[in-house]
Every structure is written in C-alpha cells, then in structure tokens.
C-alpha cells in the first residue's frame, strides 16, 4: 500500500499573471497552494522596468520632470508634486502661494481620480461590474479639468520646479466647484451599491488582515496603514505645500482588513473634496512662479516625501553641483506595499488573492519603475 493516495493533497504551484486581468498590470504571482489554501507566494516583478532612476541621472532637472509622471501613471500629478518639492528643497526655494494652492487642488483631484480607478477595478475584481462604469464616468470629469489646465489627461507634467507653467484657465474655479458638488452624492451612490451589499461584505470582511505593527514592520504606508488604525498621514505629520492650512480629517479603520481599507479610501475621497473646496475659495492672486533657467543645486542630498494616493512617495536626490542629478532615487509606495502581499495572503483562500492584490492598490509602473 503506497503511503500517499490520490486523495492526499500535495502542494500545487499555480502561476498567476503576468497577463492576468486582476493583477492590474504585469504582476506575476507564483502561488503555492494546498487545496484552496495559499501556503506561500512569490512575486515576480520587473516586467515594466524602464530604469527611471538611471534616466534621472542622465537628464537635467527640468528634463526629468515628465518621466516621473510615468511611474504611477494614475496619479501623475502627485508624482510631479513630489519631484518638484524635492528639487525645490535642494535649491532651498519655495513655490509662491498661488502655485501652492493650485498644486493642492490638482493633487487632491488626482487623489480622487486614483481612488476612483482603484474602486472601479477592485470592485470589478470582486465581481461587481457596475461601479467601474460609474467610477470612470466621474474620473472623466477630473481628467477634463486636467486637460483644460495643462493639456494632457494622464501624464500631465502640470508642475514645474519653482512653481507652475500654466496660469489657471478661465472658469477653473467654477469647474472644480461644480465637480465637487456633483461628486459627493456620487460617493454616496457607490456606497449604496457596495457598503451593505452582502456579497461585497462577505468577500472583504476579515480578508487580508494586516495589523498596524505589521504595517510598520514592512514599511507599508498610505490607506493600508490607516485602515490598520494608525492615524498617520504625511499631509498632517509633516505638512508640505501648505497643507497645514486646510481643515481635514484622517480617516482610519480598526481591523486592517480589506473592508476597512475600502471604507478608508471612500472617506479619503470625501476629505479630498473638503480640501479642494477650501482651497478653491482661497486661491491667492500673485505670481505662479518661474522655472529657473538653469537648475544647478549646490552639492548635497535631500529626501522629500509626500502623501501620494498609494502611500509615502519619496525622492532622494543627490546633487553634485551640476545641472543633472547625481543620483535620483524614488521610494515608491506600491513597491514597498506589495512586499506585504505574502503576509496578507498566507493562510487565506486562493480566491482572496485577487481581492488582496486589488486592495493594496498597486500600480505596476511604479513598482517596477
């Protein structure tokens, strides 16, 4: 009698991706399964590696700015803001107030756009088809504002070091306000569709728990950290671009599961609207800043980070007193967050892997750079 029969479960290795609709790009996950249970994972990344850091070393400070948009392409404005702040810090200059308020408005609009894209695709992964259409419909309005402002919808290149390139167009305030008024009821609508939906709740509650301590251990930031109950947001902790002047809350969750992360992101969209409304009312008059013709920072290094929609996005720039960065390191939130995937799916069901990849809200352009 052989020791094992066909009923004995043996380890099954399942390859998911890189061309899998629910991996949001080209992520490949090798899953080790025991029946339906995940007993180990390995992420294979790098399919989208374009060497952004190397490109940064070979371009001038002005020329590198459009490339950062292509890392997290659904939140290009945030990437651009972080980069501009880093170089401005290195030069020890600050953008004028009008530019700062405009930057805040556009970045928060971008946060909404990014969260909407996440909500649509995440819901689609779980099996709810309707939200994706509604989310893209509203995201379109944000992209229209971007297009009117800077001429591009996705990879915007909206900010320049030292301020802005484009003056606000006529009707910007009205369009943004109209968007805010239109958008808040829509968030309620999404919540009506999902928050109490029994399938949604059953698929998300208690899935992929990551506690606050585990988050800190892995360096996970952004909504994932806040859903675990850690009230930490760089906009509050180390305000930049004048975020200290705005009144907003940092939503947190309790259990650190997928459902809490959903709730946190929904609340964040509402808070973003709150910030935008305050900012639109106080756009000061004045200059929008001028890009220095030659950017040649003194030798030195800085690390500047901002709260991107996905977490802490940092730029570590080393200058050697030339017009090109000596080293340009990007600390991508998605890359670091993705590292926690293994901890989150281990012991869970294979069907939950899709939900957990979705809830981490990764963008592979940023993971691989």
């Amino acid at each position: 009698m052989p020791e094992t029969t066909f009923l004995d479960s043996t380890e099954l290795v399942l390859n998911m991706g890189p061309q899998h609709p629910s991996t949001h790009g080209v992520l490949r996950v090798i899953l080790k399964l025991d029946g339906e249970k995940v007993i180990g994972t390995e992420c294979v990344i790098g399919y989208l590696h374009r060497g952004v850091e190397k490109i940064g070393e070979n371009r001038t400070y002005q020329q590198f700015a459009p490339y950062v948009d292509r890392m997290d392409y659904v939140a290009a404005v945030s990437n651009g803001l972080g980069y501009c702040l880093a170089v401005e810090k290195l030069l020890n200059i600050e953008a004028p107030p009008r530019a700062q308020v405009t930057r805040v408005i556009l970045t928060e609009l971008n946060r909404i756009a990014s969260h909407l894209l996440w909500l649509g695709t995440h819901a689609l992964d779980i099996g709810a088809i309707t939200p994706v259409f509604y989310c893209f419909r509203e995201r379109e309005e944000v992209l229209k504002i971007f297009e009117n402002y800077c001429g591009a919808r996705l990879t915007t290149h909206a900010f320049r070091v030292g301020g802005l390139q484009y003056e606000l167009y006529d009707g910007f305030e009205q369009q943004v306000k109209a968007f805010c008024d239109m958008f808040l009821p829509k968030v309620d609508e999404y919540e009506e569709l999902l928050t109490n939906n029994r399938i949604w709740v059953a698929r998300l509650k208690g899935v992929g728990i990551l506690t606050g301590d585990e988050c800190k251990e892995f360096g996970v930031t952004g909504p994932v950290l806040r859903a675990a109950g850690v009230k930490w947001d760089l906009r509050k902790a180390q305000p930049y671009s004048g975020y200290e002047q705005y009144d907003f809350d940092v939503p947190t969750g309790e259990n650190g599961d997928t459902y809490d992360r959903y709730i946190v992101r929904m609340q964040e969209m509402r808070q973003s609207v709150r910030i935008i409304r305050q900012a639109v009312d106080r756009i000061p008059a004045g200059p929008i800043g001028k890009t220095p013709k030659v950017i040649k920072p003194a030798t030195g290094e800085v690390y500047v980070s901002i709260e991107a929609p996905k977490g802490e996005l940092g730029y570590f720039v080393v200058s050697d007193n030339s017009t090109q960065p000596y080293r340009m390191r990007v600390r991508p939130p998605s890359f670091v967050n993705l590292q926690a995937l293994d901890r989150m799916v281990r012991g869970g069901l294979v069907a939950d892997v899709v939900a957990i990849i979705g809830t981490l809200d990764i963008v592979l352009g940023e993971v691989d750079r």
Binding site: G46, H49, N92, P297, A298, N321, R369
Partner: protein, 215 residues
C-alpha cells in the same frame, strides 16, 4: 578640502545656490578664490555644506557608538549620521528599540566610482512617535558584503534586493539575495556609474527576445 569646510562649515546652506541665472553662476557661493583657476582639470564639486547635527539623539549615538560614528550632520534641516560599515546594523537596532525609529523608509546606494570606498549605503528611517526622519549613511568598498538589515526590519528584504540588483552589493545574511527587477540571468548592474544609459545585456536580449539588441 579642509579650508573649504572651515569656510562653509558653520554657514547656513547657500540659499541662492542654484537658482542664479547663468551669468551670475560664476560667482556662485563656492570659496574658489584661494584655489587655482579650474580650467586645467575638471574641478571636483565643492563638498556638501552640511552643518553639525545637535540634539539629544546624536549625543546618545555618540555616547553609545563612539568611534564607529564618523559624523552627525544636517543639511537643509535633514539630519544624517555617517557610521562605520560594521556599526550599521547595531545603530539601526539601537534606533529601533531605544529611540522608536520603527519604520524603515528606504534603503538605497550611491555610486562614487573614484572613491576608495565606492558606495554610499543610505538607510532612511522614520519615527512615528517623534515624527522625525534620520538617514544613516555608510561607505563601503566594492567587495564589501554589508550585513543585511532584514533581522531588524522585515521590510528591508525587497529594498536590499533592489540595491543588489542595481548596484551589485551583496548583503550578508539576506534570506533571498536575488535580482528583483531585472531578469535572473542579466549581466551587469545598471545603476553603477560605468554603465552608460543605453548599455544593455545584449546577450540576454538576443537569447531571450530573439532580436539583435534592445536599442
């Protein structure tokens, strides 16, 4: 070198350092007056005008690590400590357990090919309780195998793999020291300065993609 540091050591970082227009650039802040004109040889850039980092934490670090701590400085309000390579992990441990620097933000490296210790290894830390950032820097040689930070911060795993992938720095004691972004069989370390931007591993491209080169 020494007199430059004296000249700039205590001054605040130059405010107008880079924003000047090209004509003004010539009399930019560097104290070049004492030096011979720089046309003959490419002049090394002036060193970073860092100031001393004062406070409780650097004092603690000095007391604890003594000689192993080379410098505690601050540039543009950002603090960093330079330590000996063998002291990195103890410093990280100390900062995590006794000073609450419990979040390892990033690990990265900077390549200086003309220096005896070729790489700067940079650890960026953050403390949730203090709301403060520090950078720990160390200089290592090409052949050095620094100890891995994974036992202290689990999140160091992928970050160290990326440093290995891009610079070829092997971390001793790392659980899984493989390439992460580039393919496993790829030759060369792209972020080293001797690699030009268009240089690729053409052999790999030929074998795996069936085209002559990636360019």
């Amino acid at each position: 070198m020494a007199d430059e540091q004296n000249a700039e050591g205590s001054a605040p970082p130059p405010a107008s350092g880079g924003v000047s227009e090209p004509p003004k650039q010539k009399d930019a802040p560097k104290p070049a007056a004492a030096k011979p004109p720089a046309h003959a040889a490419p002049k090394p850039p002036p060193p970073m005008a860092a100031t001393a980092w004062e406070g409780e934490l650097p004092n603690q670090l000095k007391e604890r690590f003594g000689d192993q701590l080379t410098a505690c400085s601050s540039y543009l309000g950002q603090n960093f400590a330079v330590v000996q390579p063998e002291a990195v992990i103890p410093v990280l441990e100390f900062l995590k357990l006794e000073a609450d620097f419990d979040y390892l933000v990033d690990i990265t490296a900077v390549d200086y090919p003309n220096r005896a210790e070729r790489f700067d290894l940079v650890y960026i830390l953050y403390s949730f309780r203090r709301n403060e950032r520090v950078r720990i820097k160390t200089m290592i040689t090409d052949a050095a195998q620094p100890r891995s930070a994974v036992p202290v911060h689990t999140g160091a795993n992928w970050l160290e793999r990326e440093v290995f992938d891009m610079f070829g720095i092997q971390f001793a004691g790392h659980p899984d020291m493989r390439r992460i972004l580039l393919p496993e069989e790829w030759q060369g370390f792209p972020l080293r300065k001797e690699m030009s931007i268009i240089q690729q591993d053409n052999r790999w491209v030929r074998e795996n993609l069936g085209i002559e080169s990636g360019q």
